[in-house]
Subunit: 298 residues, 2 copies
């Protein structure tokens, strides 16, 4: 599988997830304006990386992908809510998201806060829904893992640290890595892990899914930081150099561009190692996905 094949597979998988997402909030009695606001952000495109990782790991571990779909899709609801809240004026104050007005710009702040709250809560509703076709024990374990990864000791805590560190000098690489591992890494890691959990995998496999996810999470963050320096506005959906302007601590700002590239490749290698024993098309996809992360910035 080459670079164009992985892109195609990623697109096809994203479309598959989107088919599910499109009706995922319907029939729940959501007031109209709130629903419009939630779907404005949820259906605004994106690679759907987290659901796809969950589905591919579930399949790799022997589970029918359709059974994992509600759970996988819930990860996109969580990712979307985090973007809406991060964009708020009191947080990163971003007017644009994926080239369109951010949620609070398109609607208003109150609606954006509630849209985020709603997406986060509906995510757990979707996860619970997965128990209709999977053993409840597996689903509860995976829900617990997602809550830990997305919560105050994970994604939410990472955003809190990011706010604390922004504009502050003297942040160490170690602090930066912990912050990113929580803010973006934890959800990517748990996407892989939960897929394996839903399939009922044994501990050694869960370990591999977790390590793979954590490693590509780091590689992905470094690549994003690099793109903010060397990318073009259309590709990244926001002005180039916006991290630097916002006083964000990034890999390039802390260790330079060359070392950032080296680190990204190191983590990709670590991710690929986790798949050594596997030779299915899903394993191939997950391997190529890891390579793709660094290829798009080199």
């Amino acid at each position: 599988m080459g670079l164009s094949a992985i892109k195609e597979d990623l697109l096809a998988s994203a479309r598959h997830v989107e088919g599910f997402l499109r009706t995922s909030l319907h029939g729940r009695g959501v007031p109209e304006r709130l629903l419009t606001s939630m779907e404005y952000s949820l259906l605004a495109g994106g690679k759907r990386l987290r659901p796809v990782l969950c589905l591919k790991w579930a399949k790799l571990c022997g589970l029918d992908m359709e059974k994992a779909m509600p759970f996988a899709a819930s990860l996109e609801l969580i990712h979307t809510y985090s973007l809406i809240h991060d964009d708020l004026p009191a947080m990163d104050n971003d007017d644009l998201r994926r080239g369109k007005p951010s949620n609070h710009k398109q609607f208003d702040e109150a609606t954006a806060i509630l849209a985020g709250d709603g997406l986060l809560t509906e995510a757990f509703s979707l996860m619970a829904q997965a128990a209709e076709s999977l053993p409840a024990e597996r689903v509860v374990c995976a829900m617990k893992a997602v809550a830990a990864a997305a919560g105050a000791g994970g994604m939410v805590g990472g955003q809190a640290l990011d706010m604390e560190y922004t504009g502050k000098a003297g942040i160490s690489l170690d602090q930066l890595q912990t912050m990113h591992a929580m803010k973006t890494g934890a959800l990517i890691r748990v996407a892989c892990l939960s897929g394996a959990m839903l399939a009922g995998s044994k501990a050694s496999v869960l370990e591999k899914a977790s390590t793979y996810g954590a490693a590509i999470g780091v590689a992905f963050q470094i690549a994003d930081d690099i793109l903010d320096v060397v990318g073009n506005e259309q590709e990244i959906g926001k002005p180039v150099g916006s991290d630097e302007q916002a006083g964000k601590n990034t890999y390039p700002s802390l260790v330079g561009l060359a070392e950032s590239h080296r680190l990204a490749r190191l983590y990709v290698d670590r991710a690929v190692e986790c798949l050594e024993e596997y030779s299915t098309s899903e394993a191939d996809f997950l391997r190529q996905l890891a390579f793709y992360i660094v290829e798009r910035v080199s």
Copy 2:
């Protein structure tokens, strides 16, 4: 059980819940400032009504209360997060909560948003934790019910409607009731329902728990609206008449004080009817609790 006995039992139950809440967020890797902010609001007092309702219904249906505790406590995390977000400048813009500075006043807006997000997510972590001592099927069902009640078709949606209706003339009693049923009723209802669910109760009992919870939820809201007109500032923790000043639609503003009192009593009767078959001390508590709601405003 008289008025003073119910007050005492309510206080003792609240203290029991607080004992659990006090350490519920520890050992989760939450950054210090964020944890301080979350606990500032979570441990600021309150009647702990939702956890107590869950515990009492669980016990009434034959479950050891300790097994339901993590789940019951999670409802207080959800309630607390909703208060923090509702107080934000973009929402109700309240500077005071329970006589103390609201979360965003004590910390800052970003921290308050994240503290709310963190509490909501950790709530689901606590719920999943309940599966350590209860069948996973029951826990998942109860989690699904809580997510639906707290989500965009429940509490979050109710707050969205409240924002939409505030300052608007011509809101009907029907619209007001739907809004309240979502905003405050749904979580109170599901507190009772989830307690019965965790105990593995049959459908007819779940129905009673749900009806009882919905009815006291309405009675409670009417009583709150009445207190905002006739209560004193110390008792309600915010200035008297603040609803009217904020242009809020309330029961007294829509149907008058006398009719509000009559409606409150009607819903209390409906709640008490659900307990007809029960004669345990928990049933007595739940009956007296319903009466207590209207007694405190008469």
